[in-house]
């Protein structure tokens, strides 16, 4: 299977991520620093969307970046773009943290959130990112309500498909198929299909 999935968007104009990752796999710290500069913003943004707590989000982002460093040699180009690989790692870590944190008391999470307020401008937003955001929003509108809810509850909030089914009040099987149907539409709208 040699299909190459192309990601359009801001990352295409940056440095060649595959080349950087190859260097990283050989222990090149400078290349890792450059890769970090490209992927850290998207990783932190996604993780924070899922976790909401800024301090925990930074911790998870740090774990994700160390994981990228550790497993760089295992990346397989024929299985997708570097950015998709990194974002998959990030989402997985964020979801794991959500599910383990559900066992912990909410009080602790609030205390943690208050104890560490990041000193940077949270509303700062690059123009490129705004365009990307608009395209994603436009594509999400192409989905039916149920498809959109299923995809966003799972992806942005880290809900399992059982939780998603409960929240939406629909059978399990329905959620599974709506997630898939929704992602098919998203894939086609964003132009990431083969």
């Amino acid at each position: 299977m040699n299909t190459v999935v192309h990601l359009s968007g801001p990352q295409r104009r940056g440095p060649d991520l595959r080349e950087l990752l190859t260097k990283v796999a050989f222990g090149d710290q400078e290349a890792f620093g450059r890769l970090y500069d490209v992927v850290a913003g998207p990783v932190l943004g996604l993780v924070r969307r899922v976790l909401r707590d800024p301090a925990q989000s930074e911790e998870v982002t740090q774990e994700v970046m160390l994981e990228v460093w550790r497993t760089a040699a295992r990346y397989q180009p024929e299985r997708g773009e570097v950015m998709a690989w990194v974002m998959t790692l990030a989402h997985r870590r964020a979801v794991d943290r959500v599910r383990s944190a559900q066992a912990a008391a909410d009080r602790d999470r609030r205390a943690a959130a208050q104890a560490h307020v990041p000193a940077y401008d949270e509303v700062a937003e690059q123009v490129e990112n705004r365009l990307e955001r608009e395209q994603v929003r436009r594509c999400l509108k192409m989905l039916t309500e149920l498809q959109r809810e299923s995809v966003t509850l799972a992806y942005y909030r880290g809900c399992s498909y059982r939780e998603t089914a409960e929240m939406l009040g629909v059978p399990l099987g329905t959620v599974k198929t709506r997630m898939r149907d929704g992602l098919i539409r998203l894939r086609d709208c964003l132009g990431v299909g083969s």
């Binding site: 299977m1 299909t3 999935v5 968007g9 801001p10 990352q11 796999a25 222990g27 710290q29 620093g33 970090y36 850290a40 998207p42 932190l44 943004g45 996604l46 930074e58 911790e59 982002t61 740090q62 774990e63 970046m65 160390l66 994981e67 460093w69 550790r70 760089a72 040699a73 295992r74 397989q76 997708g80 773009e81 950015m83 998709a84 998959t88 990030a90 989402h91 000193a119 940077y120 949270e122 990112n129 990307e132 955001r133 395209q135 999400l140 995809v151 799972a154 992806y155 942005y156 809900c159 399992s160 498909y161 099987g173 599974k176 198929t177 898939r180 149907d181 992602l183 998203l186 990431v192």
Partner: protein, 251 residues
């Protein structure tokens, strides 16, 4: 999820990490047999990555310092192994030590060399001692690496001035480590000392050799509630002599 057709509808839930562990593992076995499913998962992940990237946010600069300080002690895996989601995070395999030593290793070696400076020690013994020191440092770096990549590794961060300290701990290993990035410089006769907080009683956990670097804490977690950092006279103290500059609870 009894038939292949049923399984195929799980591509979406799998790509979005919405399957419980057991179903996810079962689906991965199916993926290995179903190239069409694998392609679909790949495309879905590319689409979801776009959803994620659209959330991109400015990153606080100290996070990069922490990450760059951390990679020095993380062993990289070799190529060829699986990249499955369920691979144990601490899986050894054909890894190798990261090329560069953590900065603390170099600093510690220099400190040892300076300590021996005024004493007549024959070169052979000095070399033996250096070898032992190096072996200890290698052991420590390996232990730190397995700590950072333990499946249940957790981190908590605090700041001191413009510097950042991160405690990393794993309940399963019962160990903790500390990563420092750009902590304020201290006068020569002072040192940063780490402590385990045993419900209010501080237990010595080691001295930080440099203001940027990493340290595997001495002694196990053993039910400690967190880690604290104080400034102590060179050589360290048996109990803290001042207020903590950083406190990081294990929560």
């Amino acid at each position: 999820m009894s038939t292949a057709a049923d399984l195929h509808t799980l591509t979406g839930a799998y790509a979005a990490h919405a399957l419980p562990e057991a179903e996810s593992l079962a689906f991965e076995r199916h993926l290995a047999q179903c190239p069409a499913c694998a392609l679909e998962v790949q495309e879905f992940r590319a689409a979801l990555a776009r959803l994620g990237a659209a959330e991109a946010t400015p990153v606080p600069p100290e996070l990069k310092l922490r990450v760059m300080a951390g990679i020095g002690s993380v062993r990289q895996l070799g190529p060829g192994g699986p990249m499955d989601e369920h691979e144990p995070a601490s899986g050894g395999g054909r890894g190798r030590l990261a090329r560069s030593w953590p900065k603390f290793a170099l600093a510690a070696s220099v400190a040892v060399a300076l300590g021996l400076g005024g004493v007549a020690v024959n070169e052979h013994r000095q070399a033996e001692r250096a070898d032992r020191q190096s072996a200890q440092l290698q052991q420590q770096a390996a232990a730190f690496s397995s700590l950072l990549t333990a499946p249940d590794a957790r981190t908590r961060t605090a700041t001191a001035g413009s510097g950042v300290g991160t405690v990393v701990w794993s309940e399963s290993l019962g160990q903790a480590g500390f990563l420092a990035a750009g902590l304020p410089d201290l006068p020569k006769d002072k040192v940063y000392e780490l402590w385990f907080n045993d419900s209010g009683t501080m237990r010595p956990a080691g001295l930080l050799p440099t203001t940027t670097g990493s340290l595997l804490l001495t002694g196990g977690i053993d039910g400690a509630a967190g880690v604290g950092v104080t400034v102590e006279p060179a050589g360290g103290s048996a109990a803290p002599t001042g207020a903590p500059v950083m406190l990081m609870p294990f929560v």
